[in-house]
């Protein structure tokens, strides 16, 4: 491994270490807030695999979140299984679903793929609302974690942190492997990718499955943490909106973009709700609008290009206006 890569790894390790200390010095509310940021970072990073790197913008990734949550709930509550097993099964089930639904749906491109995935998520929500095993709209209660309250907060924080590290590590390794190159080739020019020897169907499906796997893991932890899940919150399109906005805001197609995006968006959202008790979502919508008009390439691009001036913002508009 080159020197630069080694350096980067050490820096990352240091950051993870520092972040690990965070719960020890914070109150429960802050730990929960941190866990939420990590959860969104996992989902946004997972979305980034299929949306950012492979160029297939899924509008239904919440379906993997919901599947992960429900598989966990059903296995723990009805089959009495341990969380560890449920967690892995959740990821696996989500990945499997991604492969099954991906085979027909990944043949569609652009807008049609987006809407198909959206339809899948909504259909799944409606299905779960009507099935017996998922208790319909009544929802499922999960067994509580048998630890002192404070330690429960620790547990979920570290589980989510570990999941995020796993997601980013796997993404990083892929980017340097043939599979990662195939994702990007598919995004850049799918026909050219085919003629250069890439089995694009396999590539896309793999990307979608990975995306589903990590999102499912996040859903699993969420279900255990909430100790209760319902179809509405588990499959709401709002979650998809959030993960996409975060990935794009931070920088899609960049490794740390979604994490940065999750951090920024959650911070902004929290700050706004502290200042504006009543209308904070309103200002949040305004922030999203302004951000996308002026910095469509995301925060990472803003930072790496070292362009902090008005000129950069105006340049984006000049390039993109009618």
């Amino acid at each position: 491994m080159g020197n630069k890569a080694l350096n980067n790894f050490l820096i990352c390790g240091l950051i993870i270490l520092i972040v690990s200390f965070f719960p020890l010095v914070s109150n429960n509310f802050s730990i929960r807030f941190g866990t939420d940021i990590l959860m969104f970072a996992v989902m946004a990073s997972a979305w980034n695999i299929i949306g950012g790197y492979t160029g297939y913008a899924s509008f239904g990734n919440v379906v993997f979140f919901g599947i992960g949550a429900y598989i966990t709930a059903i296995l723990m509550e009805k089959a009495g299984l341990h969380f560890g097993i449920a967690y892995l099964a959740a990821g696996g089930a989500a990945a499997l679903f991604a492969v099954l639904i991906g085979l027909p749906v990944l043949r569609l491109r652009g807008h049609y793929f987006a809407i198909a995935t959206l339809g899948v998520a909504e259909a799944m929500k409606a299905l779960v609302q009507n099935l017996d095993i998922t208790e319909g709209n009544a929802g499922i209660y999960l067994p509580m974690l048998d630890l002192p309250v404070r330690h429960q907060y620790y547990f979920f924080f570290y589980m989510m942190l570990a999941t995020l590290v796993l997601t980013l590590l796997v993404t990083y390794l892929l980017l340097n492997a043939k599979l990662g190159y195939s994702f990007i080739a598919v995004r850049e020019d799918e026909d050219a990718a085919n003629s250069v020897g890439i089995n694009t169907t396999l590539s896309k499906t793999f990307a979608f499955a990975l995306s589903g796997f990590f999102t499912g893991l996040a859903g699993s932890i969420y279900a255990y943490q909430q100790a209760f899940i319902q179809p509405g919150p588990a499959f709401t399109v709002q979650t998809t909106v959030q993960m996409i906005v975060m990935a794009v805001f931070g920088g899609m197609g960049k490794l740390f973009g979604p994490l940065l995006g999750a951090l920024c968006i959650e911070m902004i959202s929290e700050t706004l709700s502290n200042y504006f008790l009543v209308a904070h979502t309103l200002f949040f919508g305004t922030v999203v609008i302004l951000a996308i008009v002026f910095t469509p390439k995301g925060m990472i691009d803003l930072i790496t290009q070292h362009k902090f001036g008005i000129a950069y913002l105006l340049q984006n508009i000049r390039e993109h206006r009618i």
């Binding site: 190159y181 080739a185 990718a193 020897g197």
Partner: protein, 247 residues
């Protein structure tokens, strides 16, 4: 034995017959030119060979194996590479990465890791003369360089047969001569070449044999001098003036 052989190839698109009962073959290490007026079916034929379309009728054999109906990526891995008439680089990747992708997934890809592919890419890019631009993004290149990159991607795949679709279009005379040199070097490395071209200067100087399509049908197939003097070819494509100008 011919390295590529097509028998009774017909390609229809909902009532329009683009390729009409064409027989063709290419011998190993040969440079075969494919010429004809626009709309004659040249690119369609290449698309059929490359697997973009399955032939409506007929069979294509490559190195003794039937490839008609196979998917493009499979044909690429078997040893046939192609370029696109309107070049298709991967814009968001660097020149080096573009070529590396060819090395990773082409015929030579099975035994090549990502790291090795990047090394191979550098070699191929030096071979086509793009060594000084390997770290540029593909969308920053000018037209002749993009054509070179398109060829590099195809060559990085380590093909036995390469299909060049109008790689000379838009080049000036000296650039054409350089490209012709490059094609000769490629053949010297043991690769068989099919080249679709309108640039007669290149066809005359580099091809062993010429194959002419007109309205989807083969109207001539033989040595360069013979074909370029063929009455049917002159009537269909070259024009009387060409014969006068070049004699």
């Amino acid at each position: 034995m011919a390295i590529l052989e097509g028998k009774n190839i017909i390609k229809r698109f909902a009532g329009l017959i683009a390729v009409n009962n064409v027989d063709f073959h290419i011998n190993p290490n040969e440079i075969l030119g494919l010429i004809g007026p626009n709309g004659a079916g040249k690119t369609t034929l290449v698309n059929v060979i490359a697997g973009v379309y399955a032939p409506s009728q007929g069979q294509i054999q490559f190195k003794g194996q039937t490839i008609s109906g196979e998917k493009p990526y499979r044909i690429g891995r078997l040893g046939i590479s192609r370029t696109f008439q309107v070049v298709k680089p991967f814009p968001g990747m660097t020149v080096k990465e573009n070529a590396a992708v060819g090395a990773m997934f082409g015929a030579g890809g099975k035994k090549t890791s990502a790291k090795e592919a990047i090394k191979k890419a550098e070699e191929v890019l030096a071979f086509v003369g793009l060594a000084d631009q390997i770290n540029k993004h593909a969308d920053q290149l000018n037209v002749p360089s993009r054509k070179r990159l398109e060829m590099a991607k195809a060559l990085a795949m380590e093909p036995d047969l390469v299909l060049f679709d109008e790689v000379m279009a838009g080049l000036n005379f000296s650039e054409i001569d350089q490209a012709v040199e490059l094609i000769r070097k490629i053949r010297e490395n043991g690769v068989t070449i099919l080249i679709i071209e309108h640039v007669m200067r290149a066809i005359k100087n580099v091809c062993d044999r010429i194959f002419v399509l007109h309205h989807g049908e083969k109207i001539a197939d033989g040595p360069v001098a013979e074909v370029l003097n063929d009455e049917d070819v002159i009537k269909a494509y070259l024009g009387r003036r060409y014969k006068e100008l070049t004699h």
